[in-house]
């Protein structure tokens, strides 16, 4: 693993009575693309603003390359940010915007113009260098903002939901540009977003936050397939969460009994459930097998079909389990049309024990 660039050491941030970030511990490594994701108000933007020096931690330490940053004013840090609103200076043209950071560092006029033009070229907007900021399109402005932040060649770049104002097609293109840029430059990107697709598509590691706490840190695939708690399971994608009590354990297998019946769940990771404990497990909507005839054995629930949501090649079915709870299944549209399901018709969902993911009592 690469060296630690930034360390959050028991960082707490309070605004009056409100605690925005609570005892946060995590490390950002050199050269990694890390995404901080969570619903609005989870503290992700506050975390980013603390990194930029726009907020000071109430407790704990933020260290960058071992140096405590808590009291360092924003202009003495080298932590440029790409803002959600872009915050381009409307009274300067594209080139002058990019030159701003260099000018503040005392680079002479000729050198900074040269550098700014290089970066505008690199981001493929060299031809717009002398254009008024407000005459540029959303995507072009985005590139100017990126160039403005990168021109000083920082060790770390902070991005605060930079793509949220763009339309879907442009988002995909900007994503691949950001990923490419980050690989080429080898600098650390800290990317705050509420969008799972953005975070999963670009980041090496994802930090999921909820109400000021870190809910899980991990690689996108791990977070998607192995959520550590109910919040993460609900937040990422279509998961079914089934709760009950531990009935028996045997080696790497645990049996959980609840209002929907008994289910065998393969144990992974650190959990060591004890018989009688409350426990939950997650079964992802796309890992479920759907049939109209009753499977012979194994984990299954008999449901009735309530509604379906067609989004293209994949369809999400919303089923009702016997206890009234909702159960979601994702299958290929082609597969579904072969099955001839009726509204309120009986269907069986089943899954292999190693498809389910144990998340403990939470």
């Amino acid at each position: 693993m690469a060296d630690a660039l930034v360390e959050f050491d028991s960082v707490v941030k309070r605004f009056g009575d409100f605690t925005a970030v609570e005892t946060m511990n995590f490390t950002i490594h050199e050269g990694e693309f890390i995404a901080i994701m969570g619903p609005s108000g989870c503290g992700k933007t506050t975390t980013l603003r603390m990194l930029a020096g726009l907020e000071e931690p109430s407790e704990g330490e933020i260290r960058m390359q071992g140096r405590v940053m808590n009291h360092l004013p924003p202009h003495e840090r080298d932590t440029p940010m790409v803002w959600q609103s872009l915050a381009l200076f409307p009274f300067l043209n594209a080139r002058e915007n990019v030159e701003f950071g260099l000018e503040m560092r005392g680079v002479d006029a000729a050198a900074r113009t040269k550098k700014a033009l290089e970066w505008l070229d690199r981001l493929e907007i060299g031809e717009f260098a002398e254009r008024d900021i407000n005459s540029l399109s959303g995507g072009q402005k985005q590139r100017v903002a990126l160039a403005r932040s990168l021109v000083t060649e920082p060790k770390i770049l902070l991005l605060d939901e930079p793509l949220s104002a763009l339309d879907a097609n442009l988002v995909i293109r900007m994503q691949s540009m950001l990923t490419r840029l980050q690989r080429e430059l080898g600098i650390t990107f800290v990317y705050v977003t509420h969008s799972q697709s953005e975070a999963f598509a670009m980041a090496d590691r994802v930090v999921i936050m909820s109400r000021g706490h870190i809910a899980q840190i991990g690689m996108p695939r791990d977070i998607y397939r192995a959520p550590e708690n109910r919040f993460v399971a609900e937040f990422v994608g279509r998961n079914n969460i089934i709760s009950g009590t531990v009935k028996s354990t045997s080696g790497k297998m645990v049996t959980i009994a609840g209002s929907l019946g008994q289910f065998k769940v393969a144990l992974g990771g650190v959990h060591q459930p004890v018989v009688g404990d409350a426990a939950s497990f997650v079964i992802a909507a796309d890992l479920v097998h759907l049939s109209t005839t009753k499977p012979k054995a194994g984990n299954m629930i008999e449901c009735s079909l309530i509604s379906e949501e067609f989004i293209g090649s994949v369809v999400t079915l919303f089923l009702e389990a016997p206890d009234g709870s909702e159960f979601k299944v994702q299958i290929q549209e082609r597969e579904l049309s072969d099955m001839d399901l009726k509204h309120m018709g009986r269907v069986f969902v089943s899954w292999a024990s190693d498809r389910a993911h144990f998340i403990g009592a939470c």
Binding site: T79, M81, W83, S85, A87, P90, F100, M104, N134, T152
Partner: protein
């Protein structure tokens, strides 16, 4: 449909009446300033420039014009500076007594002019400034700073709140961010605030009359000429004053409006 048309014409008529009431006296004043008759009566006499010649040759009028220019230029500078500082304080900082602070700043225009003029006179007499040009500048600055503050505050309220933080983030300390980001962003408001406060000061009579002493401003000298007798000179001076003020006000409006339009087009 028909009632819409009626309403439309009624509103046009109403607007026309308002404009006539405002501008008719000014237009007549300008017309009579070129009229050879001593008294403003119709039918008009012949076209003449003699009233303009009279004031051109009157050293008192020149002196008053000089005083008025010095005063309005200084007032515009001071009031705009004060206005900017207070508006920025309001924009940037949160503090306990802020409502009181704002109320205090916006107070001067609510005080009746005569009362303010008397109070100023008493105060300046006490500190030995009465009758000096500086006293008019101070009094007018107090009177006009709230206008400057209101104009600049409005502009600041339109600013993307992250703009200043973006400047810090790019390595600007607070002072440089102020100079390189806040001031340029507020430039249209600063220019129009400068023009408007200059215009208000240039026109202001009540306070100037009370405290000017021997340093008469243009409005004061107009009153002096009128109290002596009816003299078309007044129309000539009035036309000049009107031209100066309306120019300043129009500049202020144009600067504010072109900026707005430009930004609106681009946001759309």
């Amino acid at each position: 449909m028909k009632s819409d048309r009626v309403l439309k014409w009624f509103l046009y008529g109403y607007l026309a009446l308002v404009l006539i009431f405002i501008f008719a006296p000014i237009i007549f004043s300008v017309i009579f300033s070129f009229n050879s008759d001593r008294f403003p009566t119709i039918p008009l006499g012949s076209f003449t420039l003699k009233w303009y010649e009279t004031i051109w040759q009157d050293p008192d009028v020149w002196e008053a014009a000089r005083t008025s220019l010095i005063v309005s230029f200084s007032v515009a500078t001071i009031a705009t500076l004060l206005g900017f500082a207070t508006a920025y304080t309001d924009y940037r900082y949160r503090f306990k007594l802020k409502p009181l602070y704002l109320a205090l700043i916006l107070l001067p225009p609510t005080i009746p002019l005569i009362i303010m003029a008397l109070a100023m006179l008493a105060w300046f007499a006490k500190i030995g400034l009465a009758g000096k040009v500086a006293s008019i500048i101070i009094a007018h600055s107090v009177l006009t700073a709230p206008f400057a503050m209101a104009i600049i505050r409005l502009r600041l309220s339109q600013m993307d709140a992250t703009l200043e933080a973006a400047a810090w983030n790019l390595g600007a300390d607070q002072w440089r961010a102020l100079r390189r980001v806040i001031v340029p962003f507020c430039r249209p408001a600063i220019v129009s605030s400068f023009c408007l406060t200059a215009a208000v000061s240039f026109d202001e009579f009540a306070i100037a009359w009370f405290i000017s002493g021997l340093n008469k401003t243009i409005p004061v000298i107009i009153l002096e000429i009128v109290t002596g007798n009816i003299d078309p000179q007044v129309n000539a001076i009035g036309s000049f004053v009107f031209l100066t003020s309306i120019t300043l006000v129009v500049i202020a409006q144009v600067v504010l409006m072109t900026r707005d339009k430009k930004e609106k087009v681009n946001h759309g």
